[in-house]
């Protein structure tokens, strides 16, 4: 079940059965307001959205439309002004900092645009980071699978500053995959890369969804990147204004132009 809420008027929260049990993560009537009074910014304006398990979703929209805010709130990095977000059926607003932190390291993976890796740890250690933080024993088979999927091979003992930008992002994707999270969020994960390297990373993410069954949500500016996804959501002024299934780059490009982004 997919909700596409475009109304700006506040709705009463949906009854609990409105929660999808096939969703990896869900936002219900999400509102995020930055600042106060004159400087008030409505970054999210009553957004309800659900991300299905095993799907690769892209989020697009003009700069300042609230894409990053949506991801951050859904990932438990920030709290909503009102509304609710869920990961695996758990309401994030009910969690204290410790529980939220633990949820992040067990259920959520992250890929940032840059500065994804701890400079003092080598690639392998960076991939294991969430596991080590949890003190968990890695699932050897899964770990090996993830590591080999990065294609880094003999570069695993290198520190981030000895890796290329593309290699660093591949390590970041592997790190996000390592704990087998319920969902992975990427905020412009290929935004800093050239088109060739970018394609490599997106292929890697696509493989993770198809072969490893992962759920990935990614913010992007680039229609070609969005075409790797199963579904594209379009955000504008804190609203979800449209969506598209099985997009091609050209379709996305046309839609962006029609939305004036």
């Amino acid at each position: 079940m997919t909700e596409t809420e475009t109304s700006a008027s506040p709705l009463p929260p949906p009854p609990p059965d409105a929660l999808s049990d096939t969703a990896a993560a869900q936002a219900v009537n999400a509102v995020k307001i930055y600042g106060r009074g004159d400087t008030e910014v409505h970054a999210l304006n009553n957004v309800s959205v659900s991300f299905e398990r095993g799907a690769f979703t892209a989020i697009m929209g003009p700069s300042g439309s609230g894409k990053s805010t949506l991801m951050q709130c859904m990932a438990g990095l920030d709290r909503l002004t009102s509304g609710a977000t869920f990961i695996g059926g758990v309401a994030l607003s009910t969690l204290n900092d410790k529980a939220l932190t633990e949820l992040r390291r067990e259920k959520v993976g992250f890929i940032f645009q840059s500065f994804n890796l701890i400079p003092t740890l080598n690639a392998r250690e960076n991939i294991r980071l969430p596991l080590d933080l949890a003190g968990a024993k890695p699932d050897k088979a899964w770990f090996d699978q993830v590591v080999s999927a990065t294609g880094l091979g003999d570069r695993l003992d290198h520190r981030p500053n000895e890796l290329s930008g593309g290699q660093q992002q591949r390590v970041a994707v592997a790190r996000a995959l390592a704990s087998r999270p319920a969902i992975i969020f990427g905020d412009e994960p290929t935004g800093n890369l050239d088109s060739h390297t970018s394609a490599e990373i997106l292929d890697f993410m696509r493989t993770a969804v198809d072969e490893l069954g992962q759920t990935i949500v990614m913010v992007t500016h680039d229609p070609r990147s969005a075409s790797y996804a199963d579904r594209v959501l379009f955000l504008s002024d804190g609203h979800i204004v449209d969506e598209m299934a099985k997009p091609t780059a050209d379709q996305v490009y046309d839609r962006i132009r029609s939305l004036g982004g």
Binding site: R104, D132, L133, G135
Partner: protein
Amino acid sequence: MIKLALRGIRASLGRLVLMTVAIVAGVGFVSGAFILSDSLSGTFTNLIADATAGTDAQIQATEPEFGQDPVSLPQSLVDTVAALPEVGVADPAVGVDSEQNFRPFVILRDDGSRVQPQGGPVISFSWNGDTGSFITSAEGTPPVGIDQTAIDSGYAEAAGVSVGDQVRMSTPGGERTFTVSSIVEPSVAAGAYYVLFDFASAQELFGKEGQVDQIALTRASGVSTDDMITAVQTVLPPEAEVLNQAQVVDEFSAGFEQVIGIFRNAMLTFAGIALFVSLFIIYNTFAILVNQRLQQIGMLRAIGATRAQVRRGILVEAVIVGVVGSAVGIAFGLVVAFGIKSAFQATGGFPETGTVVAPRTIIVSLLVGLVATIVSALLPAFLAGRVSPIAAMRNEAPSRSTRTRRIVIGSVVLAIGLVLMGLGLFGGGSASSVLVPLAFGAIFTFVGVAMLSVLFAGPAVDLMGRAPVLGVALLGMGLLLPVLTFTVGKGLPGGPFSGIVFVIKMLVSVVAVLTGASILASLARGGRTVGIGGSGAGLEGRLARQNAARSPQRTAATATALTIGIALVATVGVVGQSLKATFADTLERAIKADLFIYDENGSPFSGQLANQMEQVDGIGVISRFRANEVRLADGDVTSLSAFNADTGEQLLTFGVTEGSIDGLTDNGVLVFTDEAESRGLAVGDTLPVEFPDGQTEELTVSGIFDDNSVLNSPLLVDLSTYERHIPAADDFFVGATVAEGADRAAVQTEVQSLADGFGSISVQNTGEFLDSQEDQIDSLITLINLLLAFALFVAFLGVINTIVLSVIERTREIGLLRAVGMTREQTRATIRWESVIVCLFGAVLGIVLGVLFAAAAVVAIPEGIIDSVSIPWESLVFAILFAALAGVLAAVFPARRAANLNVLNAITTPGT
């Protein structure tokens, strides 16, 4: 550039504040030393000026030689001078003080004990009854006649007497009773007590009939002081001199200045050490600031700023920080001076003083603070100038000296330091020819070590930070500390101070054991964060270790600050321990007496005690020990000890190598082997000795001895020889044996109860005597350690500073870690761990250096004083653990800051 410097200061205010604190502490101790000593000497000078106000000049005997009593002047001089037309009034006075003449006038209580409050001297002199100058006010009437006395209010209070009471006093002519006719307030108290008589009675009581010590002169009207002095000089005998009032004040305060100067220099030394430590912290802060502003600097360079401009910008920042830090430091110096003054006043014997902030204090403190800051900022400023625009864009640090260059420069600096220290230690000569090269040697050595330690700081902290290493080390040392305390250490504490130290030691030990155990337990369980202090053995430890190892320069500079303090503590500890060990060895060999009787203040006490002891059942043999200065034929003044030659050898070992002790009773003298060698004396030779009474006696060398550890006198004579010239019947020290079969404890108790009647006399058995001698060394070590605590405190600030900076620098990284699931506790544990290993590195390096310094010092110190190195294991283990604990404490604030970072803000912080 100035504008940019100001902006830079505002942007990094928090970082600069901590650095300023380091300057404040160092400058504060410098200015505190000046303020306190200036206040003291100002106070004394004023007091003396007040006390002598009203007289224009003073006649006194010229400076006496070699510790003899001042020569008195003939009373006829008073009339001669008074007869001069230029002289208005000539007022004679006599005086005597207890230091020079064995406390002749001391009030006795009903039980015969002496009223000797806090060990201050009791001074007696004549008083003409005037008030207003030396005696500011008086209650009652001035004493008249041999049965009346005036005492000062402090002494009256201590003795519990008031005007009109009868008091019994010991006097050189035996005990006498006086009526207290007056209780007076002297303008100069300074911890002394006063007993006053009228002039004629004083002459009689002091045995100075027909003599005067001082003649206060007032000029006749219309005559200038200079003219009067010129006139007086024509009639003065050669042993007398006349001084005007200013000269009197100067002479008097010169004596105080000397004491105050020693005190000031001691304080300045420790202030200097603290300041030296703060140099490393200031350097470190600027180096890190430059690193953090690489992009800004690069951008400035790209748009056309010259290297010199960039450098100047950093230096302007240093100047501002230096001025602010020094100004606050001077204010802090007031607090330091006030604190020390209050501490001394609470223990008594310290006059009320005003507060003198001389211009010199302000100028020197400002200069010291400013120069320290600029010197420390020079290298970072130079490096900032070398930042190339491109490198800054790529966020690369400017290339520092290469490894080889660092090794070469560091080794050269270290070598200079070692050579200088060697010169100081082994060159010999005057105190300044030892101390100056030693001090500069130490400075060079520490800088050299700091430079070289960069080479191994990385691997070293990486090793020390490994969970198994750290766990085993903390657990092991934590367990070892109480074991050492109860075996080689002092065990359970005696006094309140040692009680506090004991509790701290045990606490440190418990914390170390628990932390070590929890690290090991958490390792065994696969590295989850558990246990006390959340010392995660897994990832947190690894991150911490790698952070510390990541910038060895910073780690080395931070650790060096700590290294300096701990190295000095260790040096003092090892030298002290070696001194104690040697001392205990030689004393144990030298003493045979069972009981040791001496005054706790080191003053001589009545010979009556030894007489009474002879009546005690169970006493074996007794010897009295006395000492004074004598002059040899070549003019050298040396100390001479006397004892009962017939019993002395049963109480002490003298190690007579040639001749024998038997000849002493026959006008003989035992000569210490070194003295005999340097004077070419052999058994049978004659040695003329001039005693303080001015008579010279031809003594026969009856033997050579080589164990001088107790009496510490090169010449030993029999008591009979001594008493012929120095009849005062007071002993310095009495030794006794307990007869075979007698109850030692009972005998000791009985002697102690006898001694209680003679004032603050302690009666100790062998063990107690040895302990009390070692306690004196321990007190000295404790005092030095307390002063070094300044430096350690500054180093502690340095650790906080570095850790805070490192947290700020890693804001993004911490944000990322928190985002991917590091809990707040894990974050705190990481920071804490990093701080602990930096501290441990500093402490271990400090202890290694300290032990090496001490070993060199022991080699340099003559064998008679220290013969071998002895390591105070307990203190060293405690120092390491204490440093680790300090690391935990230093991390509290930065760790909280790191844990409470807003994750999103942290991640989006512009990159560094």
